[in-house]
Symmetry: C2
Subunit: 183 residues, 2 copies
DNA sequence: CAAATAAGTTTAGATTCGATACTATATCAG
DNA sequence: CTGATATAGTATCGAATCTAAACTTATTTG
């Protein structure tokens, strides 16, 4: 097995390339740009603290100016909606329209990453290792977040915002996420 | 573990996003475009049947016109070299210069995907599953290719080209690759 | 209340991207 | 051998992204 150093990273690089290839192919068939598909995918899994221009910019590693442009395009074409935050009026919450959701559904079906469930625990290790090395904070689900407090039967509270969270909420990705196991 | 359907694909999507984020960050620091980094990475692992404009285009899923432009840019800036094939004069073999190689070295160090060796077998399954579903042929190493023939102590022959292959050769990625286990 | 910070937009210049047409070489059919 | 077809790669065009920087508006801090 280990007759070739770096064999694992070569496998990984190929999976990454293949995934990007597929995403590009899908976006092309839907007459979208690659980044549009990525944004829609993210918006389908992020929570209400993380559905902003800034958060997408951090998640995808592109400047917020660039993301802002793409978001304008996506809104114009009816894939997403913008809602101003009632408390902090600088913030606009983004959400998928029915049209946007249906694109994500087709995308998941097209890419189809399920059926590889045994890989999950290893992925977790890989993910947190990389995140720690590069000082990335955030982008995990509440369930594994040190701020999350279980206050009874399927009732949760975020220790940062002091807000109540539903069962659906805690399976979404949050930009403020900090790992339970972190020191 | 399995209290949420599609949990694995969510992990995977996050790993993909993180990897792209890092690649972009690296490219930016080196004043390169993302696609330049991807091309250089590919050229560092592909074999002599797969080091062409066409093959890169297939691997990355972009049109060869676009790749051709980027290659022109990379050659101008001294990252790669072009060598015309002696037999088929339509073909130009691409290779990394010293400058190009050193970029790839820094990239591998920056991204650092090693230390997750247990993940490899699962990745293989995932990769071939996706490839089969979408009719992707190719881009594997000779070792797992049905055309590869072991003709003695560390001596190999490619059944397609009838050429001799070295030990180094058979660990490189080939666009003609067909899986041993394929029907 | 002024200064600093934060979220988001806008603009400009460079570069990619896909589509298409194009050149040059190779292969194939008769 | 020759004309038709296929293949590898390049050139050009218009559209869109991308970064960087300046900018607007709203919030927080001292």
């Amino acid at each position: 097995m280990n007759d070739n150093p770096g064999a694992t990273s070569q496998w990984l690089e190929r999976v990454f390339a293949l995934h990007r290839n597929l995403m590009r192919q899908f976006a092309n068939e839907e007459s979208l740009q690659l980044v549009h598909a990525e944004i829609l995918q993210y918006l389908s899994v992020c929570n209400r603290y993380s559905d902003t221009t800034q958060a997408i910019s951090e998640y995808l590693g592109q400047t917020k100016g660039s993301i802002s442009q793409s978001l304008g395009n996506l809104e114009e074409n009816g894939f997403i909606r913008k809602n101003q935050d009632k408390v902090d009026k600088r913030i606009f919450h983004l959400s998928l329209t029915t049209k946007g959701s249906s694109v994500v559904k087709r995308m998941s079906k097209f890419i189809d990453l399920d059926g590889s469930d045994t890989i999950a625990p290893e992925l977790k290790v890989l993910l947190t290792t990389i995140q720690k090395k590069h000082g990335f904070r955030g982008f995990g689900v509440c369930k594994s977040c040190k701020f999350n407090e279980n206050v009874g039967q399927n009732n949760f509270v975020c220790g940062l915002t002091k807000e109540k969270l539903s069962f659906q909420d805690i399976h979404k990705i949050c930009k403020e996420h900090e790992d339970l196991t972190a020191s």
